[in-house]
């Protein structure tokens, strides 16, 4: 049973393990980026990962859907172990949604087409059904009226919400967020965070790399602090922010909370 207790938003966390990372090591050439990462995420659990730049946060979550290869350790996602088998990797990616810092929407497709592309070509849904689902999620992220526009015609916040909707259209079991708000202007950050909070309320299993500490306090079951390719500390948000255990965590928190 996960040790974490309910945050401000309380949705059930089950015993079922969704992500299991065991002694993960990764090197870029001779550079040891990830050093013995161990992390277990249960179904319905929400985890925020923070840490200084270059600490390996992005690399860690990108290993989960195999956007990055790793050299040692194992990762099991929803009962399936990641291997070099392309079919298996693609199968796991279908179940794992990802939202990027720079949105990465497809600029040559309309918002609606961005959302229906994978359901039609990967899930093999009929176009009409895919469009209905897409409109449902676009409504949930509050931009159904933009469906026929191109990404280049939207604001950053709108684009990021489309990116979230695009991932949700695949009906993923896990959502990964890599600094989804750090490329946004302040007034747009809130609209994206609100969308993510709503997702949390639905009980989605979430892994978020973010420095939005308010968000972490509201939704996270656990906050993980990384530095130098290692997990230094993990705790419930309240304890994490009020009683950080290590010096490095204290230093980091003082830096991001005081400006």
């Amino acid at each position: 049973m996960p040790e974490s207790q309910s945050p401000a938003i309380s949705t059930p966390v089950s015993d079922q393990i969704m992500i299991d990372i065991q002694s993960l090591h990764k090197w870029y050439g001779a550079f040891h980026v990830l050093k013995d990462i161990n992390l277990t995420v249960h179904k319905g659990e929400r985890i925020v990962i923070c840490g200084p730049s270059g600490s390996g946060k992005s690399t860690t979550i990108r290993c989960i859907n195999r956007l990055e290869e790793y050299q040692r350790g194992r990762i099991v996602v929803d009962g399936e172990e990641l291997s070099n088998d392309v079919q298996r990797i693609e199968h796991i990616r279908r179940e794992v949604g990802m939202v990027f810092q720079h949105f990465n929407l497809f600029p040559h497709l309309t918002v609606l087409e961005n959302c229906t592309l994978a359901p039609i070509w990967v899930r093999k849904l009929p176009r009409q059904e895919a469009e209905e689902i897409a409109m449902r999620y676009l409504t949930r992220v509050k931009i159904p009226e933009q469906a026929s526009k191109y990404p280049g015609q939207l604001s950053g916040g709108q684009q990021q919400r489309v990116a979230i909707a695009r991932s949700l259209c695949m009906n993923p079991k896990i959502m990964l967020f890599d600094e989804p708000t750090s490329a946004l202007d302040p007034e747009m950050i809130k609209e994206v965070l609100d969308t993510m909070v709503a997702l949390a309320e639905d009980g989605m299993t979430m892994l978020c790399v973010t420095h939005e500490m308010g968000f972490a306090k509201t939704v996270a079951h656990r906050v993980i602090f990384m530095d130098g390719g290692e997990i230094i500390e993990q705790n419930r948000p309240h304890e994490f922010f009020t009683h950080p255990q290590s010096e490095r965590t204290k230093l980091f928190l003082s830096q991001i909370l005081h400006h």
Partner: protein, 369 residues
Amino acid sequence: MTQPHIPHPDLPPPANAVGAIGWLRRHLFSSPANIALTALALYLLYALLPPVLNWAFFDATWRGDSREACSGQGGACWIFIRTHFAQFMYGFYPEAQRWRVDMLVLLLIFGVAPLFIRTVPAKLKRRLGLGLLIAFPIFAFVLMRGGILGLAAVETSSWGGLLLTLVIAGVGMTGALPLGVLLALGRRSTMPTIQALCVTFIELWRGVPLITVLFMSSVMLPLFLPAGLNFDKLLRALIGVTLFQAAYMAEVVRGGLQAIPKGQLEAAAALGLGYWKSMGLIVLPQALKLVIPGIVNTFIALFKDTSLVLIIGLFDLMNIVHNATTNPAWLGFSTEGYVFAAAVYWLFCFGMSRYSRNLEKRLHTGHQR
């Protein structure tokens, strides 16, 4: 007391900034250097245009059936073109069989036209496009070549004129683009063998002049082939032109592929799309759109390079015009002949260029960030 804010009314721009006068000021008379250039251009037009127009139109002979009608006018003798026109179009394709070519041209026009009409449903367009790409060439070859179903056989060696130019250019383009795309993808592949193969192919073909390729295909290839096995000359030219241009096309397409941010592939991968779907649905549509000018540039070069097949004795438009100017009965009209050939080449190339600009505009989807 606060004054309510009254918005400033929209004023029309000053008169000298808009309209014809504004345009002239900005583009032709904006600086002393610009004024000098404008004057020079006007002088050149004045000096060159009248003689050209006089030769081509006002002093030209249009009516008549023989070269005698042209004597003494001083202008162009377009009768030469008129009497040879059919030959320029069909080459030595037998007169009685030319209806086959006409039919194919009509079929092609009716097949291609719907692709350019915006209201035609995409599904129909896709089927039509596929039919044109796969079924039409086979059908066209069978019909033109004949020899079955009671059709008289017409050897490819008697195909000629604009017909032959279009056959080579058409096959070259439809073959070079997909092949070039594959080569470009292969060159960026993570698999070393495939990458090495593609790099070798591209560099090999880019490193030799087309004329050498054609020459080797007709002179050297037969030396290696077993005696008696006769490889059609036109087929050899088609293969040579296609592979040669595919190498160029590959580099053009690679330029486009490199411009696509890595994030696009990552987003596609994260959604579970495999390599071919990511490429076909996400990367290539964007990359090809970026390099439309380069692709059309290659197409135009290809179109004009078809004239090099004269080196292996094929009578394309250029060669057949050249041939006609050496006809003893019509000596002395080479200017008319080459001007006509140039005009035809220009017409096709300019058409491609205009279409590509139109396409670029249509595919533009909002400002890039």
